[in-house]
Amino acid sequence: MADYNRKNMALLSSKTKAALLGPLNKNNPVLVQVLGICSVLAVTSKLEPSIVMAISVTLVVAFGNVIISLLRKSIPNRIRIIVQLVVVASLVTIVSEVLKAFAYDVNKQLSVFVGLIVTNCILMGRLEAFALGNGPWPSFLDGIGNGLGYGWILIVVGFFRELLGSGTLMGHQVIPQAFYDAGYQDNGLMMLAPMAILLVACIIWVHRAVNKELQEETN
Protein backbone atom coordinates (compact mmCIF):
# COMPACT_ATOMS: atom_id res chain seq x y z
CA MET A 1 0.00 0.00 0.00
CA ALA A 2 2.76 2.41 0.97
CA ASP A 3 4.57 1.66 -2.26
CA TYR A 4 1.53 2.59 -4.24
CA ASN A 5 1.23 5.88 -2.46
CA ARG A 6 4.86 6.81 -2.99
CA LYS A 7 4.56 5.99 -6.64
CA ASN A 8 1.42 8.08 -6.90
CA MET A 9 3.04 11.08 -5.35
CA ALA A 10 5.88 11.14 -7.80
CA LEU A 11 3.51 10.60 -10.67
CA LEU A 12 0.91 13.08 -9.65
CA SER A 13 2.93 16.01 -8.44
CA SER A 14 4.73 16.16 -11.75
CA LYS A 15 1.59 17.07 -13.63
CA THR A 16 -1.64 18.64 -12.48
CA LYS A 17 -3.44 16.99 -15.31
CA ALA A 18 -2.33 13.60 -14.12
CA ALA A 19 -3.74 14.47 -10.71
CA LEU A 20 -7.17 14.89 -12.24
CA LEU A 21 -7.23 12.22 -14.93
CA GLY A 22 -5.04 9.47 -13.51
CA PRO A 23 -7.54 8.28 -10.94
CA LEU A 24 -10.22 7.85 -13.58
CA ASN A 25 -8.36 4.99 -15.20
CA LYS A 26 -4.82 3.72 -14.59
CA ASN A 27 -4.71 4.96 -11.04
CA ASN A 28 -8.28 4.28 -10.10
CA PRO A 29 -8.71 4.31 -6.33
CA VAL A 30 -11.05 1.33 -6.30
CA LEU A 31 -9.74 -0.82 -9.12
CA VAL A 32 -6.03 -0.29 -8.60
CA GLN A 33 -5.33 1.12 -5.16
CA VAL A 34 -8.03 -0.99 -3.46
CA LEU A 35 -9.32 1.98 -1.48
CA GLY A 36 -12.80 2.93 -0.50
CA ILE A 37 -14.73 -0.16 -1.42
CA CYS A 38 -15.77 -0.31 2.20
CA SER A 39 -19.25 0.61 3.08
CA VAL A 40 -20.45 2.23 0.07
CA LEU A 41 -21.22 -0.72 -2.12
CA ALA A 42 -24.14 -1.37 0.17
CA VAL A 43 -25.91 1.69 -1.25
CA THR A 44 -25.65 0.72 -4.92
CA SER A 45 -28.85 -1.29 -5.19
CA LYS A 46 -30.42 1.72 -6.90
CA LEU A 47 -28.92 4.28 -9.26
CA GLU A 48 -30.07 7.43 -7.47
CA PRO A 49 -28.39 6.84 -4.10
CA SER A 50 -25.27 5.71 -5.97
CA ILE A 51 -25.09 9.05 -7.77
CA VAL A 52 -25.71 11.04 -4.60
CA MET A 53 -23.06 9.01 -2.82
CA ALA A 54 -20.59 9.56 -5.66
CA ILE A 55 -21.16 13.32 -5.58
CA SER A 56 -20.92 13.47 -1.79
CA VAL A 57 -17.66 11.57 -1.70
CA THR A 58 -16.20 13.69 -4.51
CA LEU A 59 -17.06 16.91 -2.70
CA VAL A 60 -15.70 15.68 0.62
CA VAL A 61 -12.42 14.45 -0.92
CA ALA A 62 -11.94 17.66 -2.91
CA PHE A 63 -12.61 20.07 -0.05
CA GLY A 64 -10.89 17.87 2.53
CA ASN A 65 -7.84 17.90 0.28
CA VAL A 66 -7.95 21.69 -0.05
CA ILE A 67 -8.34 22.30 3.69
CA ILE A 68 -5.57 19.90 4.67
CA SER A 69 -3.37 21.31 1.93
CA LEU A 70 -3.89 24.86 3.27
CA LEU A 71 -3.18 23.70 6.81
CA ARG A 72 -0.31 21.40 5.91
CA LYS A 73 2.43 23.73 7.14
CA SER A 74 0.78 24.29 10.51
CA ILE A 75 -0.49 20.87 11.55
CA PRO A 76 1.50 19.38 14.45
CA ASN A 77 2.73 16.01 13.28
CA ARG A 78 1.64 14.16 16.40
CA ILE A 79 -2.05 14.91 16.00
CA ARG A 80 -1.99 14.82 12.22
CA ILE A 81 -4.37 11.87 11.88
CA ILE A 82 -6.83 13.34 14.36
CA VAL A 83 -6.80 16.70 12.57
CA GLN A 84 -7.50 14.95 9.29
CA LEU A 85 -10.32 12.94 10.81
CA VAL A 86 -11.85 16.04 12.37
CA VAL A 87 -11.76 17.91 9.05
CA VAL A 88 -13.28 14.96 7.23
CA ALA A 89 -15.90 14.31 9.91
CA SER A 90 -16.99 17.95 9.86
CA LEU A 91 -17.29 17.96 6.07
CA VAL A 92 -19.30 14.75 6.18
CA THR A 93 -21.57 16.15 8.88
CA ILE A 94 -22.20 19.18 6.69
CA VAL A 95 -22.96 16.94 3.70
CA SER A 96 -25.34 14.89 5.80
CA GLU A 97 -27.09 18.01 7.14
CA VAL A 98 -27.49 19.36 3.61
CA LEU A 99 -28.85 16.04 2.38
CA LYS A 100 -31.34 15.96 5.25
CA ALA A 101 -32.52 19.43 4.25
CA PHE A 102 -32.58 19.08 0.47
CA ALA A 103 -32.72 15.38 -0.40
CA TYR A 104 -34.51 13.79 2.52
CA ASP A 105 -35.57 10.63 0.69
CA VAL A 106 -32.11 9.81 -0.56
CA ASN A 107 -30.68 10.54 2.86
CA LYS A 108 -33.08 8.00 4.31
CA GLN A 109 -31.93 5.37 1.86
CA LEU A 110 -28.28 6.08 2.55
CA SER A 111 -28.88 5.98 6.33
CA VAL A 112 -25.64 5.33 8.22
CA PHE A 113 -23.58 5.12 5.06
CA VAL A 114 -23.36 8.89 4.76
CA GLY A 115 -21.57 8.92 8.11
CA LEU A 116 -19.36 6.12 6.95
CA ILE A 117 -17.84 8.35 4.28
CA VAL A 118 -15.56 9.43 7.16
CA THR A 119 -13.85 6.09 7.18
CA ASN A 120 -13.77 5.75 3.43
CA CYS A 121 -10.11 4.92 2.96
CA ILE A 122 -9.92 7.09 -0.18
CA LEU A 123 -10.22 10.16 2.01
CA MET A 124 -7.48 9.36 4.47
CA GLY A 125 -5.42 7.90 1.65
CA ARG A 126 -5.54 11.07 -0.41
CA LEU A 127 -5.07 13.39 2.55
CA GLU A 128 -2.00 11.50 3.70
CA ALA A 129 -0.51 10.80 0.31
CA PHE A 130 -1.31 13.96 -1.60
CA ALA A 131 -2.72 16.92 0.27
CA LEU A 132 0.00 16.93 2.93
CA GLY A 133 2.65 17.44 0.28
CA ASN A 134 0.97 19.59 -2.36
CA GLY A 135 -0.61 23.01 -2.83
CA PRO A 136 -4.35 23.64 -2.65
CA TRP A 137 -5.06 23.71 -6.39
CA PRO A 138 -3.45 20.40 -7.36
CA SER A 139 -4.95 18.92 -4.20
CA PHE A 140 -8.39 20.07 -5.26
CA LEU A 141 -7.97 18.48 -8.68
CA ASP A 142 -6.61 15.32 -7.11
CA GLY A 143 -9.69 15.17 -4.90
CA ILE A 144 -12.08 15.69 -7.79
CA GLY A 145 -10.23 13.10 -9.85
CA ASN A 146 -10.26 10.47 -7.13
CA GLY A 147 -13.86 11.19 -6.23
CA LEU A 148 -14.92 10.78 -9.83
CA GLY A 149 -12.73 7.72 -10.34
CA TYR A 150 -14.52 6.18 -7.40
CA GLY A 151 -17.88 7.60 -8.41
CA TRP A 152 -18.04 6.13 -11.89
CA ILE A 153 -17.61 2.66 -10.52
CA LEU A 154 -20.36 3.26 -8.01
CA ILE A 155 -22.63 4.55 -10.75
CA VAL A 156 -21.88 1.66 -13.10
CA VAL A 157 -22.64 -0.83 -10.33
CA GLY A 158 -25.80 1.06 -9.36
CA PHE A 159 -26.89 1.20 -12.99
CA PHE A 160 -26.65 -2.54 -13.56
CA ARG A 161 -28.10 -3.50 -10.21
CA GLU A 162 -31.16 -1.32 -10.64
CA LEU A 163 -31.64 -2.21 -14.30
CA LEU A 164 -31.32 -5.96 -13.84
CA GLY A 165 -32.70 -6.13 -10.31
CA SER A 166 -35.84 -4.02 -10.63
CA GLY A 167 -36.06 -3.17 -14.33
CA THR A 168 -36.02 0.54 -13.51
CA LEU A 169 -33.55 3.43 -13.71
CA MET A 170 -33.82 6.35 -11.29
CA GLY A 171 -37.17 4.83 -10.32
CA HIS A 172 -38.58 4.92 -13.87
CA GLN A 173 -39.55 1.69 -15.57
CA VAL A 174 -37.22 1.13 -18.52
CA ILE A 175 -37.75 -2.52 -19.33
CA PRO A 176 -40.96 -2.56 -21.39
CA GLN A 177 -43.98 -4.48 -20.18
CA ALA A 178 -43.83 -6.60 -23.33
CA PHE A 179 -40.65 -8.23 -21.97
CA TYR A 180 -42.42 -9.27 -18.78
CA ASP A 181 -45.36 -10.55 -20.79
CA ALA A 182 -42.94 -12.66 -22.79
CA GLY A 183 -41.68 -14.27 -19.59
CA TYR A 184 -38.79 -11.99 -18.56
CA GLN A 185 -38.27 -11.65 -14.83
CA ASP A 186 -36.30 -9.19 -12.75
CA ASN A 187 -33.25 -10.84 -11.24
CA GLY A 188 -33.88 -10.62 -7.51
CA LEU A 189 -30.31 -11.75 -6.86
CA MET A 190 -29.04 -8.40 -8.11
CA MET A 191 -30.74 -6.68 -5.19
CA LEU A 192 -28.65 -8.66 -2.72
CA ALA A 193 -25.46 -7.15 -1.39
CA PRO A 194 -22.99 -9.80 -2.67
CA MET A 195 -23.83 -8.97 -6.27
CA ALA A 196 -22.30 -5.51 -5.85
CA ILE A 197 -18.98 -7.15 -5.07
CA LEU A 198 -19.35 -9.53 -7.98
CA LEU A 199 -20.04 -6.63 -10.35
CA VAL A 200 -16.91 -4.83 -9.14
CA ALA A 201 -14.99 -8.04 -9.81
CA CYS A 202 -16.34 -7.98 -13.37
CA ILE A 203 -15.28 -4.35 -13.79
CA ILE A 204 -11.82 -5.26 -12.54
CA TRP A 205 -11.71 -8.15 -14.98
CA VAL A 206 -12.52 -5.95 -17.96
CA HIS A 207 -10.26 -3.13 -16.74
CA ARG A 208 -7.27 -5.42 -16.32
CA ALA A 209 -7.90 -7.27 -19.54
CA VAL A 210 -7.51 -3.90 -21.26
CA ASN A 211 -4.69 -2.55 -19.08
CA LYS A 212 -2.38 -5.54 -19.06
CA GLU A 213 0.32 -3.79 -17.00
CA LEU A 214 -2.02 -3.78 -14.01
CA GLN A 215 -2.33 -7.55 -13.87
CA GLU A 216 -0.94 -9.15 -10.74
CA GLU A 217 1.45 -12.08 -10.70
CA THR A 218 0.16 -13.95 -7.68
CA ASN A 219 -3.27 -14.76 -6.45
Binding site: I37, C38, L41, I81, A89, V92, T119, L192, I204, W205
Partner: protein, 204 residues
Amino acid sequence: MEAISLIVRSIFVDNMIFAYFLGMCSFLAVSKDVKTAMGLGIAVTFVLVITLPINYLLENYVLKAGALAWLGDDFANVDLSVFSLLIFIAIIASFTQIVEMVIERFSPALYSSLGIFLPLIAVNCAILGGSLFMQQREFPNIGMATAYGFGSGIGWLLAIVGMAAIREKLEYSNVPKPLKGLGIAFIITALMALGFMSFAGIDM
Protein backbone atom coordinates in the same frame (compact mmCIF):
# COMPACT_ATOMS: atom_id res chain seq x y z
CA MET B 1 -30.21 -14.68 26.64
CA GLU B 2 -31.15 -11.75 24.51
CA ALA B 3 -27.51 -10.73 24.45
CA ILE B 4 -26.46 -14.17 23.18
CA SER B 5 -29.05 -14.03 20.45
CA LEU B 6 -27.80 -10.56 19.53
CA ILE B 7 -24.21 -11.82 19.34
CA VAL B 8 -25.17 -14.75 17.15
CA ARG B 9 -27.16 -12.48 14.86
CA SER B 10 -24.40 -9.95 14.48
CA ILE B 11 -21.85 -12.68 13.73
CA PHE B 12 -23.82 -14.62 11.15
CA VAL B 13 -26.83 -12.73 9.89
CA ASP B 14 -25.72 -9.11 9.90
CA ASN B 15 -22.05 -9.81 9.40
CA MET B 16 -20.14 -6.54 9.11
CA ILE B 17 -18.37 -7.64 5.96
CA PHE B 18 -20.81 -9.90 4.19
CA ALA B 19 -23.99 -7.95 4.83
CA TYR B 20 -22.67 -4.38 4.90
CA PHE B 21 -19.17 -4.50 3.40
CA LEU B 22 -17.74 -2.62 6.35
CA GLY B 23 -14.00 -2.81 6.72
CA MET B 24 -13.48 -4.10 3.19
CA CYS B 25 -10.26 -2.17 2.59
CA SER B 26 -8.27 -3.84 5.30
CA PHE B 27 -10.20 -7.05 4.72
CA LEU B 28 -8.78 -7.27 1.21
CA ALA B 29 -5.35 -5.86 2.02
CA VAL B 30 -4.55 -7.99 5.06
CA SER B 31 -6.14 -11.30 4.16
CA LYS B 32 -3.14 -12.85 2.45
CA ASP B 33 -2.17 -15.14 5.33
CA VAL B 34 -4.10 -16.52 8.26
CA LYS B 35 -1.76 -15.36 11.02
CA THR B 36 -1.87 -11.64 10.24
CA ALA B 37 -5.56 -11.88 9.48
CA MET B 38 -6.07 -13.32 12.94
CA GLY B 39 -4.06 -10.47 14.48
CA LEU B 40 -6.09 -7.81 12.73
CA GLY B 41 -9.34 -9.59 13.56
CA ILE B 42 -8.49 -9.66 17.25
CA ALA B 43 -7.47 -5.99 17.19
CA VAL B 44 -10.75 -5.02 15.51
CA THR B 45 -12.81 -7.01 18.01
CA PHE B 46 -10.89 -5.48 20.91
CA VAL B 47 -11.39 -1.91 19.69
CA LEU B 48 -15.08 -2.54 18.94
CA VAL B 49 -15.72 -3.97 22.39
CA ILE B 50 -14.16 -0.93 24.05
CA THR B 51 -15.34 1.93 21.83
CA LEU B 52 -18.95 0.82 21.45
CA PRO B 53 -19.87 1.12 25.14
CA ILE B 54 -17.98 4.44 25.39
CA ASN B 55 -19.85 5.82 22.42
CA TYR B 56 -23.07 4.37 23.77
CA LEU B 57 -22.68 6.34 26.99
CA LEU B 58 -21.80 9.50 25.07
CA GLU B 59 -24.74 9.05 22.74
CA ASN B 60 -27.26 8.53 25.52
CA TYR B 61 -25.97 10.96 28.12
CA VAL B 62 -24.51 13.76 26.01
CA LEU B 63 -25.41 13.75 22.34
CA LYS B 64 -28.97 12.59 21.84
CA ALA B 65 -31.84 15.06 21.87
CA GLY B 66 -32.78 15.49 25.51
CA ALA B 67 -29.81 13.37 26.66
CA LEU B 68 -28.48 16.18 28.81
CA ALA B 69 -31.62 16.21 30.98
CA TRP B 70 -29.56 14.83 33.90
CA LEU B 71 -27.81 18.21 34.08
CA GLY B 72 -31.06 19.92 34.95
CA ASP B 73 -34.23 21.07 33.26
CA ASP B 74 -32.46 23.85 31.41
CA PHE B 75 -30.60 21.30 29.34
CA ALA B 76 -33.53 19.00 28.60
CA ASN B 77 -34.05 20.44 25.15
CA VAL B 78 -30.43 20.49 24.03
CA ASP B 79 -29.77 18.39 20.93
CA LEU B 80 -26.11 17.84 20.17
CA SER B 81 -26.62 15.00 17.70
CA VAL B 82 -25.07 17.09 14.94
CA PHE B 83 -21.72 16.43 16.61
CA SER B 84 -22.15 12.68 17.00
CA LEU B 85 -20.10 11.73 13.96
CA LEU B 86 -17.25 13.94 15.08
CA ILE B 87 -17.28 12.64 18.64
CA PHE B 88 -17.49 8.99 17.61
CA ILE B 89 -14.55 9.19 15.25
CA ALA B 90 -12.54 11.23 17.75
CA ILE B 91 -13.12 8.58 20.44
CA ILE B 92 -12.15 5.80 18.06
CA ALA B 93 -9.05 7.57 16.78
CA SER B 94 -7.82 8.62 20.20
CA PHE B 95 -8.52 5.21 21.66
CA THR B 96 -6.56 3.41 18.98
CA GLN B 97 -3.72 5.86 19.42
CA ILE B 98 -3.66 5.32 23.20
CA VAL B 99 -3.77 1.56 22.82
CA GLU B 100 -0.97 1.74 20.31
CA MET B 101 1.20 3.75 22.69
CA VAL B 102 0.43 1.48 25.65
CA ILE B 103 1.18 -1.69 23.72
CA GLU B 104 4.38 -0.25 22.27
CA ARG B 105 5.58 0.75 25.72
CA PHE B 106 4.75 -2.43 27.64
CA SER B 107 4.74 -5.29 25.16
CA PRO B 108 6.99 -4.88 22.15
CA ALA B 109 6.28 -8.46 21.11
CA LEU B 110 2.56 -7.86 20.98
CA TYR B 111 3.19 -4.53 19.33
CA SER B 112 5.09 -6.06 16.47
CA SER B 113 2.27 -8.51 15.80
CA LEU B 114 -0.78 -6.40 16.62
CA GLY B 115 0.38 -2.81 16.92
CA ILE B 116 1.02 -2.28 13.25
CA PHE B 117 -2.69 -2.77 12.60
CA LEU B 118 -3.88 -0.23 15.09
CA PRO B 119 -3.40 2.88 12.93
CA LEU B 120 -5.30 1.02 10.21
CA ILE B 121 -8.17 0.46 12.58
CA ALA B 122 -8.99 4.14 13.11
CA VAL B 123 -10.18 4.23 9.53
CA ASN B 124 -11.68 0.75 9.52
CA CYS B 125 -15.29 1.26 8.53
CA ALA B 126 -16.39 -1.64 10.71
CA ILE B 127 -15.50 0.27 13.88
CA LEU B 128 -17.28 3.51 13.03
CA GLY B 129 -20.03 1.45 11.44
CA GLY B 130 -20.53 -0.33 14.76
CA SER B 131 -21.02 2.98 16.53
CA LEU B 132 -23.35 4.36 13.86
CA PHE B 133 -25.48 1.21 13.84
CA MET B 134 -25.56 1.36 17.62
CA GLN B 135 -26.91 4.90 17.36
CA GLN B 136 -29.48 3.93 14.75
CA ARG B 137 -30.66 0.76 16.49
CA GLU B 138 -31.12 2.36 19.90
CA PHE B 139 -29.98 -0.54 22.06
CA PRO B 140 -31.79 -0.63 25.40
CA ASN B 141 -28.68 -0.77 27.61
CA ILE B 142 -24.91 -0.66 27.61
CA GLY B 143 -24.65 -4.44 27.96
CA MET B 144 -26.46 -4.98 24.68
CA ALA B 145 -24.25 -2.39 23.01
CA THR B 146 -21.14 -4.20 24.24
CA ALA B 147 -22.57 -7.54 23.13
CA TYR B 148 -23.21 -6.07 19.70
CA GLY B 149 -19.64 -4.79 19.53
CA PHE B 150 -18.30 -8.20 20.50
CA GLY B 151 -20.49 -10.05 18.00
CA SER B 152 -19.64 -7.71 15.15
CA GLY B 153 -15.94 -8.01 15.93
CA ILE B 154 -16.05 -11.81 16.02
CA GLY B 155 -18.05 -11.81 12.80
CA TRP B 156 -15.39 -9.65 11.18
CA LEU B 157 -12.62 -11.88 12.53
CA LEU B 158 -14.35 -15.00 11.23
CA ALA B 159 -14.75 -13.43 7.81
CA ILE B 160 -11.16 -12.27 7.44
CA VAL B 161 -9.65 -15.51 8.76
CA GLY B 162 -11.86 -17.55 6.45
CA MET B 163 -10.89 -15.34 3.56
CA ALA B 164 -7.19 -15.64 4.37
CA ALA B 165 -7.45 -19.42 4.59
CA ILE B 166 -9.05 -19.56 1.16
CA ARG B 167 -6.49 -17.19 -0.33
CA GLU B 168 -3.63 -19.32 1.00
CA LYS B 169 -5.02 -22.31 -0.85
CA LEU B 170 -5.63 -20.19 -3.90
CA GLU B 171 -1.94 -20.04 -4.69
CA TYR B 172 -2.28 -23.38 -6.41
CA SER B 173 -5.25 -22.40 -8.54
CA ASN B 174 -5.24 -21.41 -12.13
CA VAL B 175 -6.97 -18.06 -12.26
CA PRO B 176 -7.51 -16.06 -15.47
CA LYS B 177 -4.78 -13.43 -15.65
CA PRO B 178 -6.87 -10.26 -15.38
CA LEU B 179 -8.62 -11.68 -12.32
CA LYS B 180 -5.46 -12.53 -10.41
CA GLY B 181 -5.10 -10.94 -7.01
CA LEU B 182 -7.80 -8.37 -6.45
CA GLY B 183 -10.38 -9.67 -8.92
CA ILE B 184 -10.53 -13.18 -7.54
CA ALA B 185 -10.52 -11.84 -3.99
CA PHE B 186 -13.69 -9.90 -4.80
CA ILE B 187 -15.33 -12.96 -6.31
CA ILE B 188 -14.47 -15.07 -3.26
CA THR B 189 -15.91 -12.40 -0.99
CA ALA B 190 -19.12 -12.34 -3.01
CA LEU B 191 -19.44 -16.13 -2.87
CA MET B 192 -18.73 -16.19 0.86
CA ALA B 193 -21.34 -13.49 1.34
CA LEU B 194 -23.89 -15.53 -0.59
CA GLY B 195 -23.00 -18.48 1.61
CA PHE B 196 -23.51 -16.42 4.75
CA MET B 197 -26.96 -15.45 3.55
CA SER B 198 -28.09 -18.97 4.30
CA PHE B 199 -27.65 -18.13 7.97
CA ALA B 200 -30.44 -15.59 7.58
CA GLY B 201 -33.01 -18.06 8.84
CA ILE B 202 -31.26 -18.40 12.22
CA ASP B 203 -33.84 -17.75 14.86
CA MET B 204 -33.06 -17.86 18.55
